[in-house]
Amino acid sequence: MQKTTVVVIGGGATGVGILRDLCMRGVDAILLEQQDLAYGTSSRYHGLLHSGGRYAVKDAEAGKECIEENTILRKIGRHCVEQTEGFFARTHLDDEAFEGKWVEACAKVGIPTIPISVEEALRLEPNLSPKIKSVYRVPDAAIDGFRMVWQNVASARKYGGRVLTYTTVIGIEQSNNQVVGIKVRNTLTGEVSDIACDFIVSAAGSWAGEIAALAGINVNVQPDRGTLIAFNHRITSRIVNRLRPASDGDIFVPHGSITILGTTSASVNKPDDTVPNAKEVVELLNIGEALFEDIRSYRMLRAFAGTRPLYSADPNATGRGASRGFVTLDHAHDGLKGFVSVVGGKFTTYRLMAEKVTDLVCGYLNVKTPCRTAVENLVEDTSPALMAKARLYFPAYGAELAASRLGSEGLEKVIARIQEKPEKRQLLCECENVTMAEVEEAAADSTSYMISDVRRKTRMGMGTCQGAFCTFRSVGAVDANGLSWGKDTNVLFKEFLQGRWKGIRPILWGNVMREMELTRGIYEGTLNINGAIDNEGI
């Protein structure tokens, strides 16, 4: 039986943040995630590193937390953050009176807002609607959820942290009102086992209620689904927020090669009710039109949805009415020692949440080491020499991207693969500029079990063609590398393409429909990965 001091449940931003903090303070810890890292809300979100502007009016405290964490993450997480800055733009449809209130509220919590002329805004962002009325610059930034999660894990591992993916928590073992261990099931094989521990931290986001229930404790987390649309190119190079009281569909966030518009808000019963539908998409487009007039002429890549873990002591508050702040629940108060849940919050504040929880746990464990997550960078900067070397091996526009995904160590490994076999510099995913070497490296990682896991690590399959070409190549590469999980290639094909399909189905019109006809033409029409084979006839 494995043993550890603390088990952290949940491989989202909050969980990995806690793991890192614990390990940096010298506490032995294991993180358990039922699927792959960042499977939950931490990758199904907008990716806005809030300046706090969105919350300043309604929730000054949240606004303040945001601007403080924003400042910290820009520094310690600079390889996950794109310092795009943001606009708050009031459209012709929005209440002018709110503008003054907003400026004042931002000033109060220390969020800098710089007014600029509409002409200047249009010069900087030519796709913005010329009908907008006023614009302010704020220090918003874009943050990559996958990368942030991975880099926290990489850092935690350096301090001895362990991570088990595809490991579902199915029971909390207690003895005399004290946690003694945890029961888990291997999500892929179904095998059940136990891990002995002294402490459990549930950072299961929208699933926190379900985890608490395993110990017979009630935690009121209401999953609130938000749907987002990813567009094929960078229609704006800055984040654009609508200057009005927070509502649906009013933020555009550029991420690398794409732009994300969101979001909706609707209570759902299940945390993994993340299948978006066409109606939500059409609504978002209707609203988004106020900021970007030509929105319908921009190609969508996919729609996706995540569930916000909205916590409320009051079971009746829902949606945007419920608090987006976070709470740390010490279940000692519910009669079980050694069990803490952290619920609510935002991606932007994950580090702060982790710090608060870790303080609490360390208090119990009598660990006095102070928190250093706000001052120590997640990963070291890639040296200029290594970058220069990388540029020799990666194609144009590829080296920086690969470096920010891989970190120095990973980058060295990928370069070594290319040095050994120069043809591995070829792009397996042409849309997102991912080399065969990088995909092979990611596929060989011990946390990869299917092509989607490789996708999350590399961004392969997340660009224009949405897997039309790279699916075939990645399955071929996994097979050629003799990886143990590559046995049944038809399963690999279907798993990956079905995953892409989930996001395509709700936007199946225009160029997306065309791309789908092509994709089906390849995998169903030509490669026949689905068809029964008539042995009699052959």
Partner: protein, 398 residues
């Protein structure tokens, strides 16, 4: 989608353009239209970097013609190239090749330097990167404008404006003269405006986009002035035509192009339209001659079919066979460059072979630089279709 919205969105990564790009077929150094065009465009919007193989695109537009999605691939390439050169030094070679008009004026003004293609030693040109094998055009002793000024036209109430373009003006004025004769035979008077400047096509392919835009502004103003009066404007050069009506719209934001483009004609198409209206002078004399025909890529890209072939089919006795063997490889001044010469000849090799196999010794084609390249690569004589039309009219009166 907005008609001339240059974004990469409708590309489905289908690879068709790769199969149809002549440069891709000729060299593995070029990463191909899809990659360099729409795919990297998404990257260009988010990152600063350069794709070195962008320089291989010749702007021949075969990619655009094959694309099932209407992606303006070549234009994306040209815009990216311009962006690349925005803050970079240019080579003397590229400057010379893209400023043919300035060079021509210079040589006319500086006796002793009368013909840079001839007098400036090919050795010197080679040193700056212009191939010593390429078929550089020679300057005519008198420009078209000069010849035209001395020409007495019969005046008719119906008039057309002629945009000669640099090649006809400085290198091959006879085509312009043939054009005027053909118009006169159709009771049309030709107006040539001296204010016209180079269409900018050679500037664009070498990344001098700002200068091209200056030229465009000047041309647009003049073109608009005449078409507003109801005069059609006619070109005999397919690359000029494509530039004036299409690329101006894709590359620049100048008011008025869409309006005048409605009345901007390729000479062959203009004559066919006259024919459709029953107004074409069909007093064609018999020409018992055999020719090959080559369709310039920049004509095919204009969506009007092959008007030259249809026009020549009206001439009794004439046997014109479409070589139908793709790009000739020259792409304006692409094939003049030392590092592109071999690629350019490789691209044209299929066409040269088809011509040689046909046994015919003269090739008809609308584009001046295509004619140069074909003359060079297939060792044959070349003609503009209008030269044959004129000849046929003259034969009728003999």
């Amino acid at each position: 989608m907005k008609k001339h919205h240059n974004n990469p969105d409708s590309c489905t990564a289908c690879t068709v353009c790769i199969a149809n790009c002549p440069v891709t077929a000729a060299t593995r150094k070029f990463r191909g239209p899809k990659m360099v065009g729409p795919t990297l465009e998404r990257m260009r919007l988010s990152q600063d970097d350069i794709e070195p193989s962008l320089e291989y695109c010749s702007n021949c537009k075969n990619c655009d013609m094959s694309c099932p999605s209407g992606v303006p691939i070549s234009t994306l390439n040209m815009l990216a190239r311009a962006k690349y050169f925005k803050n970079r030094k240019r080579s003397l070679r590229d400057w010379i090749l893209s400023h043919g008009e300035k060079m021509a004026k210079l040589s006319a003004a500086t006796p002793g330097m009368a013909n840079f293609g001839m007098k400036m030693s090919r050795g010197i040109l080679k040193k700056i990167g212009i191939s010593d094998k390429a078929p550089l055009p020679a300057y005519a002793s008198k420009s078209f404008i000069k010849l035209f000024k001395n020409l007495k036209q019969t005046s008719y109430p119906d008039k057309v404006v002629f945009y000669p373009g640099c090649f006809i003006n400085y290198n091959d004025p006879q085509v312009g003269m043939d054009f005027v004769a053909v118009m006169q035979a159709n009771k049309l008077e030709v107006i040539v405006e001296e204010g016209f400047v180079c269409c900018g096509s050679p500037l664009v392919v070498n990344g001098f986009l700002d200068e091209a835009e200056e030229n465009a502004k000047q041309n647009v103003q003049i073109l608009k002035k005449w078409t507003d009066k109801g005069y059609p404007v006619i070109t005999c050069c397919t690359s000029c035509g494509l530039m004036l009506k299409q690329e101006y719209q894709e590359l620049f934001h100048i008011e008025g192009v869409a309006e005048y483009a409605k009345q901007l004609y390729d000479a062959d198409e203009f004559l066919l339209d006259l024919h459709d209206q029953g107004r074409l002078n069909t007093n064609f004399g018999t020409l018992n001659e055999k020719y090959m025909y080559h369709a310039p890529c920049h004509l095919r890209a204009q969506g009007m079919g092959l008007p030259g072939v249809e026009l020549l089919a009206l001439i009794p006795g004439l046997d014109v066979q479409d070589a139908d063997a793709g790009c000739c490889g020259i792409s304006g001044n692409y094939g003049f460059k030392d590092d592109k010469y071999d690629i350019s000849m490789e691209i044209g090799s299929g066409l040269f072979k088809a011509i040689k196999d046909s046994g015919r010794d003269t090739v008809v084609s609308e584009c001046g630089t295509c004619r140069l390249q074909i003359g060079h690569g297939a060792n044959v004589k070349t003609l503009h279709p209008l030269t044959l039309v004129r000849k046929s009219y003259e034969a009728y009166h003999k």
